[in-house]
Amino acid sequence: MSAAAAVPILEAESLSVRRGPRLVVEGVSLVLGPGEAVALIGPNAAGKSTLVRALAGLLAPAAGEVRLRGRGLRDCGRDAVARAIALVAPDEAAPATLTVAERARLGRYPYRGALRPFTTEDEAAVARALARAGVEPLADRPLATLSAGERQLAALARGLAQEPSILLLDEPAAHLDIGHQLRLFRVLDEVRREGVGVLAVVHDLPRAAAWAERLVLLARGRVAAEGPPATVLAGPAAAEAFEVAIRAEHLGGRPVYLFDEKPTPRA
């Protein structure tokens, strides 16, 4: 166990989350320490997005608890949670005429609330976030004029402007081309170096394996496997969850994963 995991910032213990009548996440325990890179993987409908939202405090647990630095999320207060945990999810809800910079500035809401004016510190945080997400040249563009990938980076800039200790991302690379994907994960590595723990839902398994220090495999709401990428992807749980055969080859010292369709009978 790394030193990082020894002092977790965010911790879920036996977490279960209900959506409607269905228990979507069941008995999940996981920890996220400072500077860690964790990829949450799993087949469709495994409960990944639900788990991420519960970790951000947006969904109340049906059982178990999410703790922020040892304290239950419910006891921390909304603002304190929003200052510590930023969630970046794909969405098209933001108004079309809002600009990229205006959107990023709203990331300072947890610090300033409805009334307090922005300080130079806030402005600096917003400027840093825009630069880091690579959307500085788009700062004054309305969201409606951006591509889906650019909007995704604008949402990331809002998350970075929150200056969180934990960054949660739900499929951050969904609309990004390969160049933007590589930049996104480089940005995530940069914020990790400053001690931010990053947990991202990643659909692209080779990308998840290349970026993360640790994979958490979620299948039918439960953690089916957890550990270093090579170990998790080589294990039987991953093959079973995705119903594929997974093979690792090595190319220039880096693992390359190959997938073949392999229907496995479900228990």
């Binding site: 108004p95 005429t97 990331g107 409805a114 309305p142």
Partner: protein, 340 residues
Amino acid sequence: MSAARRRRVVLGLALALPVVMLVAVAAGSVPLPLRGVLGSLLHGLGLGIGGALPPSSETILWVVRLPRVLLAAVVGGGLAVVGATLQSVFRNPLADSGLLGVGAGAALGAVAAVRLGWAGTTFLALPLAAFAGAMAAVLVLYALSQALGGGTLHGLLLTGISVSALAAAGTSMLLVATEEFRVKTVLFWLAGGLDGRGWVHLRIGGLVMLGGCLVLLASARVLDVLSLGDEEAAALGLPVHSARLGLLALAALVAGAATAAAGSVPFVGLVAPHALRPVAGSLGRHLLPAAFLGGALLVVLADLGTRVISPNVDLPLGSVTAFVGAPYFLLALRHADARR
């Protein structure tokens, strides 16, 4: 959407409004000379310049026209701020208190107060009833849009239509049961107008509307965060439900006061913020002041229209704004559909 362009637009509106108001004060069945009006207004402000008009003109200016035009501005501004607020709260660029049934709810409340005779006997009964009607409509609308998934553009508008129809049905029933001598008062609220409005209406209604608008302006950042969607707003630490209910209550307060003062004045809340959003942007602190000025301008002009288009009959104010607003709404709807 440069900041410079935005400032120019707001400055332009801020300069245009007093000019248009001055013209509106001077024009009417008895035209007053512009210079004389300006002189009398400056004199009345105690600036030691200008001078009084002849006594009859002074009366027309100070007792009839000025409070009416000021009230038109506040009603227009208030309705536009309400529209902008509803658009952000429901995240729907075509939301408007008239279209969503809030105006109809306020009218139902006002008509009920007239029918029951409270309006004539109890101080503030009419505005309070209008507010209660607006608030009830907002709550029904909010509950229905949550329950029926009215989060889509058309879903919300259709829900608004049913709320409107429900309130209108209630109003019709009251109308049938209303004594003849009160029917004209009732019809007045349904058609909208500023006839016979004076300083007392401005003092009470204007205060409520301006106060409500100022609180909404102070809540601009909450409005902005809400407009990002429930999930992102909650992730930023906003208590989404209570924030939305609070904003809706404020919107209902202003819409109720506007209805109590001027009756139904439809489409102002749609046209002013919708037309200004492309230049003013989406942020509340930019959009709300621009919308206020735009709405004020619109209703002052519309009220002027009711007085000068036909010299013998005062046209209903609500009809004039609807003649402008309904085609605008259809164009905006077509544009919104074409974009998806």
